[in-house]
């Protein structure tokens, strides 16, 4: 009962916080809309000029359009210590967390975003790993010689497929429901636009992380007013590393079911090559993002989300590290232990997927698509056309 009351209280807090944060977006964007110096940094400001007032849906939309590059903070003549106290990246970051909470599925689990930090991520992963280690121990010894990478001797393939497939499937479904609800809330019907063009533009913005280039291709800010391209590069390492790992798993699944080729695959096989390249990307990317994260100017970020950021970074890093370790020592007696630990992190990653930082990519892509559609429609506000 205590847990339910706790969740209810957290949900009420979240509601109140959303109102406060959305009101702050409305306040500062009235100042921005009268200034507009930042218009070519990113998509947030052109989207702003299509509006005169900013309701909660607008706040969600603009918050997720913002990539937190923070160029507008350092350029702002109204940033603290100015009495107007304009801080666009921080304010929008606060609303982003509200978005994740508000559009989580099931909604009652949305409050996990407020708690899903490093500790939760590690606890879930290590818990699952411990459980798997226990399962192995029930059947005999943890250290077994002569298995030569025979993973499915430890855990049968179908058991893994069902467990991980179900966890991943639920996460994808939960995220999909969330983003559809988000889309419905922030998008009002309008004049039809050529959707392929809009989708293409949004896809390019996502895949190139266009809005981490600061609008001038010098990059975004991290510690101070100097620009850096490393945030964008480390994101690329992470994203494309993840995609390569995903491709590796997909290819392996095809091998398994279509060609009845079972793991372990040779070092020079497609699944291992893709997985290794992806794994290396998933080490470099998250390590770099962590390094930037700890050095980030607190003015730019919502400090309360750092634990969520770092939890996600850590999960990605350890999924990759344990995966590469499993590859390196798959032919040794340590394989069962390494397998259990790796599977623990993968499961931890899947389970927290819809309630952690992973969501930022999904909601941001949706916001970019909305922007690409919206900008193809006439601006309803015809201010200062002279």
């Amino acid at each position: 009962m205590a847990a339910i009351e706790d969740l209810t209280r957290l949900a009420l807090d979240a509601e109140r916080e959303l109102e406060t944060n959305a009101a702050e977006v409305d306040r500062i964007l009235h100042i921005c809309n009268a200034c507009r110096y930042c218009e070519s940094f990113c998509a947030v400001f052109p989207a702003m000029t299509r509006r005169l007032d900013f309701n909660v849906a607008d706040a969600h939309y603009l918050a997720n359009l913002c990539h937190n590059c923070s160029a507008c903070l350092y350029a702002c003549q109204y940033a603290p210590p100015h009495e107007f106290g304009v801080n666009v990246p921080k304010t929008l970051a606060q609303v982003r967390r509200d978005t994740y909470v508000e559009y989580a599925f099931p909604k009652s689990l949305g409050v996990l975003y407020r708690r899903n930090g490093l500790t939760v991520a590690m606890a879930v992963s290590l818990g699952v790993a411990a459980f798997l280690i226990g399962a192995i121990l029930m059947q005999g010894s943890l250290f077994v010689h002569g298995l030569e990478g025979q993973f499915y001797v430890i855990f049968p393939h179908n058991l893994l497929a069902v467990l991980f497939g179900a966890a991943f499937g639920f996460s994808v479904l939960a995220l999909a429901i969330g983003v559809i609800r988000f889309w419905r809330q922030v998008s009002e019907p309008g004049k039809p636009v050529p959707l392929p063009n809009a989708a293409g533009e949004a896809a390019r913005a996502v895949l190139t992380l266009q809005y981490l280039d600061g609008g001038h291709r010098d990059g975004c800010n991290n510690e101070d007013d100097a620009f850096t391209l490393w945030r964008r590069r480390f994101h690329h390492f992470t994203f494309y590393g993840f995609m390569l790992c995903f491709a590796s798993t997909s290819v392996a699944t095809l091998y398994h079911y279509l060609f009845a080729m079972e793991a372990p695959y040779p070092i020079l096989s497609l699944p291992v090559l893709l997985g290794t390249a992806g794994g290396i990307g998933l080490l470099i990317g998250p390590a770099g993002l962590f390094w930037l994260n700890i050095r980030r100017n607190p003015m730019q970020a919502d400090e309360t989300q750092k634990t969520m950021d770092r939890g996600f970074i850590a999960l990605l890093f350890f999924v990759s590290l344990t995966g590469l370790a499993l590859l390196a020592w798959r032919d040794t007696a340590a394989m069962p232990l390494l397998l259990a630990v790796h599977l623990g992190f993968v499961m931890g990653f899947f389970l927290t997927l819809p309630y952690g930082k992973f969501a930022h990519g999904i909601f941001r892509s949706a916001a970019l698509l909305k922007y690409a559609i919206e900008k193809r429609r006439p601006n309803p506000v015809q201010a200062g056309g002279e």
């Binding site: 009268a34 200034c35 350092y74 210590p81």
Partner: protein
């Protein structure tokens, strides 16, 4: 070059921390001089009025990256001649104009980025190059470049006075009493617009017995107290300009006393009427596009009783002008609006009724000089005259907002400070402290930054040459 920490003798001391000071410091450093900058403000407030600027008026004979079409030297000069009413120097103005055509590559090298004109500023797409992120982004870029090049910067170091030996610069005395000597010096510490006492004295008392400047707001920095202008006047430097002249616009009366910047503008003036405290109109609100008229409305409001005006519009024009930062006072009837604004209802209604009755039918278009005008009312409204008849009605109180003052040290094309019409050999001036040589009155967007950049670069080069004993 020597490393900055190794400076024993400072070659060039730059006093100030805005665009002109930074241009001078960068040029002097590039010429091989050791440079120390003294900025009066703390780091967060550095950059003076430059942090509120947004563009540079640029001559160009053909389309140039963000600039469309052409803006030839002669047209630029004619524009300047028109707004200043001849209160300018053709030689210096043309020097600034030509410099504006070729300074942007240098600016880019120091990290300044340009962007296409902002929405709501398309009217200057041809004449003005916008800084990406505005003036504070420019200031940040210059400071970063200065740091990389080894320019030393001391913040929170206001200078109280200059120590001279005849007409030669010897050193600067800081407010804390420290004497900082250097081989040459550039003064670029801004006008006196933040000094309310001086503004009061400069504008004096009007026929109504009011001190108009007491009701002025300062659009920019609080650090431009004019200390060095006054110090140089005392030292007998040659001066130019009228202390009551400056860039003065009508802004939202609720703007903060300092640093309200761009967002406190009220852009609906040309789409409605403006009445004074007594409820009477006093000028043609539709004379020209607002961006071409905003610079005269500060003085117009300053001449009204109580130095206040009220821009009145109705629902029809909402969304047709740049959104104001503060919400307007609203009412569902005009008498109610007058009451809310504190304007006498009877006179207000007489003014509005006669204006509404005088509006001739036409085709309203706020993007061109349209044919909606009044007939038989004084003053006439010559464009965009629509009857104000559709509730809700909105009112915005206006105050004069001083951007910068034009009282200046007199210079020629070397930027040297002059005493008895003779140039000092090692003391130079740039930015607002000499802008009045080019801009005796009036204003046109982006010209302040053109003057600051041109003369900042000249002053820095000359100061380095003077310090290093080279011909400039």
């Amino acid at each position: 070059m020597t490393r900055s920490e190794d400076f024993i003798v400072i070659d060039v001391l730059v006093i100030g921390g805005g665009n002109a000071a930074l241009c001078a410091a960068l040029m002097a450093r590039e010429a091989g001089a050791s440079v120390l900058m003294l900025e009066a403000s703390p780091k967060e407030w550095r950059g003076g009025n430059s942090q509120h600027t947004r563009n540079l008026r640029c001559m160009h004979d053909a389309p140039q990256d963000v600039l469309v079409e052409a803006y030839p030297e002669e047209e630029y000069w004619q524009d300047l001649l028109k707004v200043t009413g001849g209160e300018t120097s053709e030689h210096l103005a043309r020097l600034v104009i030509r410099a504006s055509s070729n300074c942007r590559d240098w600016m880019r090298r120091h990290g300044v980025r340009f962007q296409p004109p902002l929405s709501g500023a398309l009217h200057v797409a041809r004449t003005n190059a916008f800084f990406m992120g505005g003036g504070k982004a420019l200031v940040n870029a210059y400071y970063r470049s200065a740091q990389t090049l080894g320019v030393r910067v001391r913040y929170e170091t206001p200078v109280a006075g200059i120590v001279l030996d005849g007409d030669r610069f010897v050193g600067a005395r800081t407010e804390s009493g420290e004497l900082i000597t250097a081989r040459a010096c550039v003064l670029a510490a801004g006008g006196f617009e933040s000094n309310r006492e001086w503004l009061r004295e400069a504008w004096g008392r009007n026929d109504r017995g009011e001190w108009p400047a007491d009701n002025f707001l300062i659009r920019g920095t609080r650090f431009n107290q004019g200390v060095l202008l006054k110090d140089m006047m005392r030292a007998g430097a040659d001066m130019i300009g009228d202390p009551s002249q400056g860039h003065c616009v009508a802004i939202d009366a609720r703007a903060p006393l300092y640093d309200g910047g761009i967002c406190t503008r009220i852009d609906c003036v040309s789409l409605g009427v403006v009445v004074n405290r007594d409820g009477e109109r006093f000028y043609d609100e539709g004379e020209d596009f607002w961006p071409k008229r905003y610079a005269i409305w500060g003085r117009l409001v300053a001449q009204q009783p109580g130095q206040i005006g009220y821009s009145i519009i109705d629902r029809k024009v909402i969304g047709r002008f740049m959104p104001p930062v503060f919400p307007g006072i609203t009412a569902n009837s005009l008498p109610e609006l007058a009451t809310r604004l504190g304007v006498p209802v009877e006179v207000f209604m007489r003014t509005l009724d006669s204006y509404n009755a005088a509006c001739r039918p036409g085709t309203f278009n706020h993007t061109i000089l349209d044919d909606c005008r009044t007939e038989g009312v004084v003053p006439a409204k010559t464009h965009w005259a629509l009857p104000i008849d559709t509730p809700p009605f909105y009112g915005y109180a206006l105050r004069p907002g001083i951007t910068f003052t034009y009282l200046s040290l007199k210079v020629d094309d070397t930027a040297a400070v002059r005493f008895g019409n003779k140039p000092s050999s090692n003391l130079f001036v740039a930015g607002e402290m000499m802008a009045g040589n080019v801009l005796g009155k009036g204003y046109t967007a982006g010209v302040g930054m053109s003057i600051g950049t041109a003369f900042g670069r000249i002053a820095g080069t000359r100061a380095a040459a003077a310090a290093l004993g080279r011909p400039a």
